[in-house]
């Protein structure tokens, strides 16, 4: 590969690729307005460290969470980043209907996350089990295991909707 081609590849990622900043989700802002820990949320500052937990997802939600890190959504420009340990996290982003086989792991991950912390339940099955509700192998919704602050709907939610929900968490008015 010549230096010309490498330059071209690097140039191909110049800022015009990036999606314009979306408005925070109104639905999310309404759900968060009722949160009791508004004062605590002020301590977050303008950044969020997120630990993702798959609690039984079909992996569709994971694909769209991944997309947030691509050059188009570029989520780190908002001060939002994914971290490897719950010890480093402000937010747990939980997907899936919560299988019984993942209940303990979810609970332990929550317990390992320091206060103040928030839980975002991502996708339709994280709300109430979605189409897996009623199976003897699933619990049916994240809030049945750990307290949930925000739900983001969709199957899976498109990245822009996940972003709008997370931006609502960062809004000064909701903190």
């Amino acid at each position: 590969m010549g230096p010309g081609m490498l330059r071209l590849l690097l140039k191909g990622l110049a800022p015009p690729l990036t999606e314009p900043v979306p408005a925070p989700s109104e639905v999310a802002l309404r759900e968060l307005a009722g949160a009791v820990d508004r004062a605590a949320r002020g301590t977050l500052g303008r950044s969020l460290s997120i630990r993702h937990v798959d609690a039984g997802s079909c992996n569709g939600c994971e694909l769209e969470i991944h997309a947030l890190n691509n050059a188009i959504y570029n989520i780190e420009r908002f001060g939002i980043r994914f971290v490897a340990s719950p010890r480093h996290a402000d937010v747990l982003l939980v997907t899936g209907p919560v299988t019984k086989n993942m209940r303990e792991a979810l609970q332990r991950t929550y317990d390992a996350t320091p206060h103040p912390k928030w839980v975002v339940a991502l996708g339709d099955c994280a709300r109430d089990g979605g189409c897996f509700a009623g199976s003897p192998a699933v619990i049916g919704g994240v809030s049945k295991v750990v307290p949930v602050d925000l739900h983001i709907a969709g199957c899976p939610p498109p990245p822009i909707e996940i972003l709008r929900g997370l931006l609502a968490l960062l809004q000064p008015g909701t903190r």
Binding site: M1, M5, L9, N59, I72, G96, P97, R103, S135, V138
Partner: protein, 505 residues
């Protein structure tokens, strides 16, 4: 003395009526044993093994389109283990034992697989019995020697990944043994399928593994259509293939970047991430959903392609065709990256053959198989495409298979758009008056997906089994990491990219 061929075993069995497109026969234990010998001798490939009430079914391929399903009644809830002679069956038998309570006599592994002891019920698809016990400990296989230590990873991993547990035994940096423990995302999909109407069953099938939602939708629809002898309008057949190739493109582009990213080469990841996003946006524009979920239904499609869809997809493939060669060159020319992928995680072609490993895992280790070509299904018989195959079997070879398949899929998308027939996209099939059974094998991006379905007189699903390609790839990951360093495990794992959800069901 083993029977000569799978055909002989099938001819010796009692045919079950209304099963399509391949035969299903009831066999006696001798027939079951003959088939097991065929597998053990490498003269047949195991396609699936699943429970159904008090029966076990085994799907095999004996050769080109020589496919059949053998059924054995499990007298007293027991049947002779296939896995004791043919390793790829071991986990399938453990799963069937957990779900149905059917005991594979001779299977050397008595441990549960999907059942972690917390469902509150035993044998949920057989004769369910309530349980109240706490989760029992799971004894991992041992490795003994001076200086060996264990590393426990998961089920919650350090990235945006599905959950599973990996138990490494290492000597310094070198992996001596890896044992997987899966089942964490078991949702009981096959239980939910029982009694579901076709709409709900199709939605469930599309949620077995989200990255393969098109392929699963297609496999389920084709299984029902085979059972009901339903015709699908030509336009729907071609649009289904268009969606399937878009799904393959999106996943391969994502994988190529992620594998490189696991070797700390972020530039490739950045570029393929953009291309993948372009595929999803064009898919959204054309079909109304970024992953094209719930678009394929038995009888055709839920809706036609949007008016601007074909033009958007043409623009997409033109852009990828323009950018991709430079990325391939970047991969090929970056010595520090190739240094990580070449000779890392090498899969012996003999193992790939034994396990009937599908997709890039099999094809990178010399297995020349692709369900689009054999057994084949329309419209691929009218399309020109090559099935790449390599011998090296390492991470590098699995990257190259994906690279070559991206090029093939771009060509397929263009061919499909050039020849897309006009007409309706849906012909709702009429439920037959009695029980029908059908099976389909579809090539997803990761390999061959098998769906077997039985519908009742009311047109509802009685039993549906969905076998992900990962069943025959996960065990091979354990084999390929042996002797590699722990730090190369993510690279090996990503190059396999097995589905947890598809496996756990």
């Amino acid at each position: 003395m083993a029977a000569a061929t799978l055909t002989d075993v099938i001819l010796a069995g009692a045919p079950v009526p209304h099963h399509g497109p391949w035969p299903r026969v009831v066999v006696r234990p001798e027939g079951w044993a003959d088939a097991t010998e065929l597998l053990a001798e490498g003269r047949a490939t195991l396609l699936g093994l699943w429970g159904d009430g008090g029966w076990m079914h085994m799907a095999l391929a004996g050769g080109e389109n020589d496919i059949g399903v053998l059924s054995l009644e499990c007298v007293g809830g027991r049947y002779p283990s296939v896995g004791q002679r043919h390793r790829p069956a071991l986990r399938l038998e453990r799963a069937a034992r957990d779900l149905f309570g059917l005991e594979p006599e001779g299977n050397p592994d008595a441990r549960p697989w999907l059942d972690h002891g917390v469902w509150g019920v035993r044998h949920p698809l057989g004769s369910p019995a309530k349980t109240t016990d706490a989760a029992p400990p799971y004894p991992f296989l041992t490795a003994e020697g001076e200086g060996l230590h264990q590393i426990a990873v998961g089920p919650v991993h350090a990235g945006i990944i599905e959950p599973g547990h990996f138990r490494f035994t290492a000597n310094g940096e070198t992996i001596v043994r890896l044992e997987e423990r899966l089942g964490y995302v078991h949702k009981g999909i096959e239980g939910l399928m029982a009694g579901a109407d076709l709409d709900r069953a199709a939605r469930l099938a599309g949620r077995v593994s989200g990255d393969s939602t098109v392929a699963y939708g297609l496999a389920f629809a084709r299984a029902v259509e085979a059972a009901w002898h339903a015709d699908v309008p030509p336009r729907a057949v071609w649009l289904r293939a268009l969606m399937a190739e878009l799904e393959r493109l999106a996943n391969h582009l994502g994988d190529i970047g992620e594998i490189c990213n696991d070797a700390a080469f972020a530039l490739m990841h950045a570029h393929t991430g953009v291309l993948r996003e372009r595929v999803l946006r064009a898919s959204d524009l054309a079909f109304g959903h970024r992953l094209m979920r719930d678009r394929i239904v038995p009888g055709g499609l839920a809706g036609d392609i949007a008016e601007g869809g074909p033009a958007a997809i043409r623009a997409l493939v033109d852009e990828i065709a323009r950018v991709f060669p430079a990325l391939v060159e970047l991969y090929d020319d970056t010595a520090s990256l190739r240094d990580r992928t070449v000779t890392t995680g090498t899969l012996d072609p003999a193992l790939a053959l034994e396990y009937g490993a599908g997709g890039y895992v099999g094809r990178a280790s010399g297995r020349d198989a692709d369900a689009r070509r054999s057994p084949g299904y329309p419209p691929y018989d009218e399309l020109a495409f090559a099935v790449p195959s390599r011998e090296a079997g390492d991470v590098d070879a699995r990257v190259w298979i994906r690279i070559e398949e991206v090029t093939e899929s771009l060509s397929l998308v263009r061919q499909i758009l050039d020849r897309l027939p006009a007409g309706p996209v849906r012909a709702d099939p009429a439920p037959p008056p009695s029980i029908r059974e059908g099976m389909a094998i579809v090539e997803g991006f990761r390999g061959d997906i098998l769906v077997w379905v039985r519908t009742g007189a009311d047109g509802r699903v009685e039993r549906c089994h969905l076998r992900d390609p990962s069943w025959f790839q996960w065990p091979l990951l354990e084999a390929v990491v042996e002797g590699n360093i722990v730090a190369d495990f993510p690279l090996c794992n990503k190059s396999f990219n097995c589905s947890y959800s598809g496996h756990d069901l």
